[in-house]
C-alpha cells in the first residue's frame, strides 16, 4: 500500500514536472498588441501576517514574497537557478562563498540594486532589534558570527558578510555548509530597500503599495486587510521577458469549500488549499491536482521522564503496534507513512534520497510488526498489555489530529491490549503543556526550512528548545555535533548514524510525512514551486 501511494505521488510529481517543463520551454510568444492582460486569480487561503521578508515566518507570506522578491538564487523543485546573482563560487576549503550580482539588477522603482542592499537586508534580519521570528536560522547558516550577533553578543559589523564592490557579495562561513547556496533562496535572505523599510515601521511598508519597493517578478499594487491583494508585473525585473503574467489577483479565502466552488465556477484559477473531503476524488479525476511532499514529519512524543516509558522494548512495541499505512489511507491526502524521522525529498552526498537509503529500521509501516510488538511487550513484563498503566494521548484540538489519535488509540487497544484516553487542548495551551512536559504521549509536528536532514534531526539534541520528549543520548548528541561541522560524506554519515540511534531509542513514534496540495486550472502554465514550499509564478503564463 505504502509503495502504491509513493508511486502515485511519484507519478503526480512527474506530471507536475512535465507541466513545469512544458510551461518553461514554450516561452509565450510576444503578446499581440492590445491583447487583454494575462490575469491569474489565486487563492492564498489566508491574510499573511506580514509581507516583509525579514519579519516573515509563515508559508502564506512566503508564497507572496517569493513572487515579489528574489534572493541571490532561486530554487525550483530542489534545483538552484541564478537569481539576483548570475553566478557564484565556493572557495576550495568551502569556507568562502562569493556571489556575482548582475549589474543590470534594479528595484521595482527603477533604482539600481547592489550588493549593499543584500548586506543591509541580511544584517537587518540578523539584528536582534528587528526581532525576526526566523533569527534562529542563522545558527544553521554557519555564517561567521551571525548567530552571536543575533543573540546580541557581537556587533553586526563582525558578521562575515560584505559587499566587495557593488556587484560582488562575499560570505565567510565558519564551516563548509553544503546547503548554504540553496538556503539563500529562502525569504529570510532577500534584499530589502533601506529607504522603504525605514519609511514605515514593523514591516508596514511591505503592505503599503506606495512604499513596497521589491526586486522580484511582481510588485504589490493593492492590499486590503482580510480581503486580498494585487500583484503587477515588475518591468524592472531582470527576467521580465519570461514573466507571462501581467496581474495576479490574490484572495485570502480561508474557507476551502468556498474557494473550491469559486474554482469550479472559474473565478479562481489556482488554490493553495482544497476541502479535505474532495481530495480522494481530485486525486482520481483531476490531472491538475498536485500533491507535493512537504519536508516534515507528524509524530508522537513519549515523555521520556516517565518510568512507564523507560523500557525501550515498551516504546518499540508501541511503535510497532500501529499500522501507519492505514492511518495514511484514512487521511486520504497522499501523506507518506513515516519509517524514520527524515522525510522524502532530501538528497545525500551521493544524490540518493535520504529517506529511501535510510530504510525502515525494522519497523514496517503496515501491521506486520504487531507480533514482534506483542513479544517485546511480554518480555518487558506486560503480556497482552496486562499491568501496563493506562495513559493519556494528548493532541491540540483539530479534527485531523483527533482522527489520527482515535486510530492510534484503537490500534494500541486491539493490537497490544493497552488502554489510552484521549485529551485535547487548544493550540496555545497545548504548546505550553508540551513544552513543560506535562503529558504522557503528545502529538508533535516538525517542518524544516532548509534542504538538509539536520534541520529535522537537530531538534532531538539535548537542550534543544523543541526536544519535547526530553530525549538525551550522548551518542546522538555527538553524531549531530559532528554533522554540523563536516560536509559531504562525513556530514551525511553522521546524519545516517544519528537517525539510526534515534530509531533504536525511539523517543518518538513517527507517523507520517506531511504533504501539500494544490489545484491549478489547466490554463495556468509554467508555474514552479520551491522544495521548501514557496510558489513561484515568475515564469508562469495563461494559455486559454
Amino acid at each position: 500500500m505504502n509503495k502504491r501511494i509513493i508511486l502515485a505521488m511519484g507519478t503526480l510529481l512527474l506530471v507536475a514536472g512535465f507541466a513545469f517543463a512544458g510551461g518553461g520551454n514554450q516561452t509565450t510568444p510576444a503578446a499581440p498588441p492590445a491583447a487583454a492582460p494575462a490575469v491569474l486569480n489565486w487563492n492564498l487561503a489566508a491574510d499573511p501576517l506580514t509581507l516583509d521578508p525579514g519579519l516573515n515566518g509563515a508559508s502564506d507570506g512566503g508564497d507572496i514574497i517569493s513572487n515579489t522578491f528574489e534572493g541571490l538564487v532561486r530554487e525550483r523543485s530542489g534545483e538552484i537557478f541564478p537569481g539576483m546573482a548570475e553566478r557564484w563560487e565556493t572557495s576550495a576549503d568551502g569556507m568562502t562563498v562569493t556571489f556575482y550580482l548582475r549589474p543590470t539588477n534594479k528595484w521595482s522603482d527603477g533604482s539600481p540594486l547592489t550588493a549593499k542592499d543584500f548586506v543591509y537586508g541580511w544584517k537587518r534580519a540578523i539584528d536582534p532589534a528587528t526581532a525576526s521570528e526566523y533569527g534562529w536560522i542563522w545558527h544553521y547558516t554557519n555564517v561567521v558570527n551571525a548567530e552571536a550577533a543575533n543573540a546580541g553578543e557581537v556587533s553586526l559589523d563582525q558578521v562575515g558578510i560584505r559587499a566587495v564592490d557593488d556587484y560582488t557579495f562575499e560570505v565567510k562561513l565558519s564551516a563548509p555548509t553544503d546547503y548554504f547556496v540553496s538556503l539563500t533562496a529562502f525569504y529570510h535572505f532577500m534584499p530589502v530597500k533601506q529607504s522603504s523599510v525605514e519609511a514605515k515601521a514593523d514591516g508596514a511598508w511591505a503592505k503599503d503599495p506606495a512604499l513596497a519597493v521589491s526586486n522580484g517578478p511582481f510588485k504589490l499594487t493593492t492590499y486590503t486587510i482580510g480581503g486580498g491583494l494585487t500583484l503587477e508585473k515588475n518591468v524592472n525585473y531582470w527576467n521580465a521577458a519570461e514573466a507571462g503574467l501581467d496581474i495576479i489577483n490574490v484572495k485570502f479565502i480561508d474557507n476551502a469549500a468556498t474557494a473550491y466552488t469559486a474554482y469550479q465556477t472559474g473565478e479562481l484559477d489556482f488554490l493553495n488549499d482544497v476541502p479535505p473531503a474532495e481530495i480522494p476524488k481530485l486525486i482520481a479525476e483531476n490531472p491538475e491536482f498536485y500533491i507535493f511532499p512537504l519536508l516534515g514529519t507528524y509524530y508522537y512524543n513519549f515523555n521520556m521522564d516517565l518510568p512507564m516509558f523507560e523500557d525501550v522494548r515498551v516504546r518499540r512495541a508501541l511503535t510497532l503496534g500501529i499500522d501507519r499505512d492505514r492511518i495514511v489511507e484514512v487521511m486520504a491526502s497522499g501523506q507518506v507513512a513515516a519509517a524514520g524521522f527524515v522525510p522524502p525529498g532530501m538528497p545525500d552526498h551521493l544524490g540518493r534520497d535520504f529517506f529511501e537509503t535510510a530504510g525502515n529500521y525494522g519497523i514496517p509501516t503496515d501491521s506486520s510488526g504487531v507480533e514482534e510488538a506483542k513479544r517485546l511487550l511480554a518480555e518487558a513484563g506486560y503480556p497482552n498489555g496486562q499491568g501496563f498503566p493506562e495513559f493519556v494521548l494528548m493532541y491540540n484540538t483539530s479534527q485531523g489530529h483527533q482522527l489520527v489519535a482515535e486510530l492510534v488509540q484503537e490500534m494500541w487497544k486491539t493490537n497490544l491490549g493497552i488502554n489510552t484516553t484521549l485529551e485535547n487542548q487548544e493550540w496555545a495551551v497545548f504548546q505550553d503543556t508540551r513544552k513543560a512536559g506535562n503529558y504522557d504521549v503528545s502529538r508533535g509536528g516538525w517542518l524544516t526550512d532548509f534542504l538538509d536532514p539536520m534541520g529535522l534531526l537537530a531538534i532531538f539534541v539535548d537542550g534543544n528548545a523543541y526536544n519535547d520528549p526530553n530525549y538525551n543520548n550522548p551518542e546522538y548528541n555527538s553524531a549531530l555535533r559532528r554533522a554540523s561541522t563536516t560536509f559531504g560524506a562525513s556530514h551525511f554519515e553522521a546524519l545516517y548514524e544519528a537517525q539510526d540511534i534515534l530509531m533504536t531509542d525511539l523517543p518518538i513514534v513517527p507517523v507520517y510525512h506531511y504533504t501539500d496540495v494544490m489545484l491549478s486550472s489547466p490554463k495556468v502554465k509554467g508555474w514552479d514551486r520551491s522544495q521548501l514550499g514557496g510558489l513561484d509564478f515568475s515564469r508562469a503564463s495563461i494559455q486559454n
Binding site: 521570528e133 468556498t258 466552488t261 496555545a428
Partner: protein, 310 residues
C-alpha cells in the same frame, strides 16, 4: 427624561469599563501569548518582542496604558498583523460588516415582523402553517449550513450569485440571508405569539366595540403593543449582527470584522481581542439604552420617571 438618560449613560460607561477589565484579566490568565508559534520563538527574541510591545510591564500598568489609549481612540498595534493597528483592522473591516449587517437588520424588521403579524391574523390557516414551518427551519438550521447550501446551489450549481466577496449587489444575498436567517425566524415567531396574546386582551375588544375600523385596531392597538417583546429582543440582536459573524464572513469570504472575535482569541492577539470586545460592548449598551427609549414611545404605560425614582 434628560436626567434619566444621563444616569443610564454613565452606567453604560461603567458597564463597558467592567467588561474591558474582565476581558483583559481573562485573556492574560489563559496560557500562551501573541508570539506562541508552532515553532516556538527563541527566548532571546521573545524578550525583545515582549519589550517592544510593553508586554513585560506589570499587568496593571499594561491595563492603564491600554485604557488610556482607548480614551484617545487608539486601540494599539495588532499582534497578528505586524505593522497594522487595531484601528486599521476595524476601520477597514467595519464598513463591509456593517453593510451586510444593516441589510440583515432591515430584512429582519421588514420581513420578520410582517410575517409574524400575518400568521397571527390568519391563525390556523395554510399561510400560518407555512410561515411557521419556514420559521422553525430558520431557527433550527445553523447559519453555516444555510451559507454552505447557498454557495453550493446558487453560486456553484446555478451561478446566480458570486461565490465569495461583496463585489456585486447580488453577492449580498447569500450573506444577508445566512446572517438574518435565525433572527428573522425568531422575530416572526415572537411577533406571532405576542400578537395572539394581545389580540385576546380586553382593550382590543373595547377598541372594536368602539367601532374602530379593523385596520386601525390592528395597526394602532394590537401591533404596537405586540412589538414590545420584539423590540427587547431586537436591541441586542442588532448589536450582534452589526458587528458581524465569524461563520458567515468566513464562508462568504467577506473582509469584515466578525472573524476577529474568534481569530484574535486563538491568536492571543491581545489588542484585537480588546478592540473588538469594546466595540461590541459599546454597541450593545447603546442598543439596550435605545430599546428603553423606544419602550416609552411604544408603550405609554412605561415611563422613565417611574424607574428613576428607585
Amino acid at each position: 427624561m434628560g436626567r434619566y438618560f444621563l444616569k443610564r449613560f454613565v452606567y453604560s460607561l461603567f458597564t463597558i469599563l467592567l467588561i474591558s477589565s474582565v476581558t483583559f484579566l481573562m485573556m492574560h490568565s489563559i496560557p500562551g501569548g501573541p508570539f506562541t508559534r508552532e515553532r516556538a520563538v527563541p527566548d532571546e527574541i521573545l524578550k525583545v518582542l515582549n519589550a517592544k510591545y510593553n508586554l513585560d510591564d506589570p499587568l496593571i500598568v499594561q491595563f492603564l496604558n491600554y485604557m488610556g489609549g482607548v480614551l484617545t481612540f487608539d486601540l494599539g498595534p495588532s499582534f497578528s498583523k505586524v505593522g497594522t493597528s487595531v484601528n486599521d483592522l476595524i476601520t477597514s473591516g467595519f464598513p463591509s460588516t456593517a453593510t451586510v449587517g444593516a441589510w440583515a437588520v432591515l430584512s429582519i424588521i421588514l420581513v420578520g415582523i410582517p410575517l409574524g403579524v400575518i400568521s397571527a391574523l390568519k391563525q390556523g390557516s395554510s399561510i400560518d402553517y407555512s410561515v411557521m414551518l419556514l420559521a422553525t427551519f430558520g431557527v433550527t438550521v445553523p447559519s453555516f449550513v444555510i451559507a454552505t447550501l447557498i454557495i453550493y446551489f446558487f453560486a456553484g450549481q446555478l451561478g446566480w450569485i458570486p461565490p465569495f466577496g461583496l463585489s456585486t449587489p447580488q453577492s449580498y444575498i447569500g450573506p444577508v440571508v445566512a446572517l438574518s436567517g435565525y433572527s428573522l425566524s425568531f422575530v416572526s415567531r415572537l411577533t406571532r405569539s405576542s400578537m395572539l396574546e394581545v389580540l385576546r386582551q380586553d382593550y382590543i375588544r373595547t377598541a372594536r366595540a368602539n367601532g374602530l375600523s379593523e385596520f386601525s385596531v390592528i395597526m394602532k392597538h394590537a401591533v404596537k403593543n405586540a412589538l414590545i417583546p420584539v423590540v427587547t429582543y431586537l436591541g441586542p440582536t442588532i448589536a450582534a449582527i452589526m458587528t458581524g459573524s465569524f461563520v458567515v464572513e468566513r464562508i462568504f469570504a467577506i473582509p469584515g470584522i466578525g472573524r476577529y472575535f474568534v481569530e484574535s482569541v486563538s491568536n492571543r492577539d491581545y489588542t484585537t481581542i480588546m478592540g473588538v470586545t469594546i466595540l461590541y460592548a459599546a454597541f450593545y449598551v447603546m442598543m439596550v439604552l435605545l430599546v428603553d427609549i423606544i419602550y416609552a414611545l411604544v408603550d405609554p404605560r412605561i415611563r422613565f420617571e417611574k424607574e428613576s425614582k428607585n
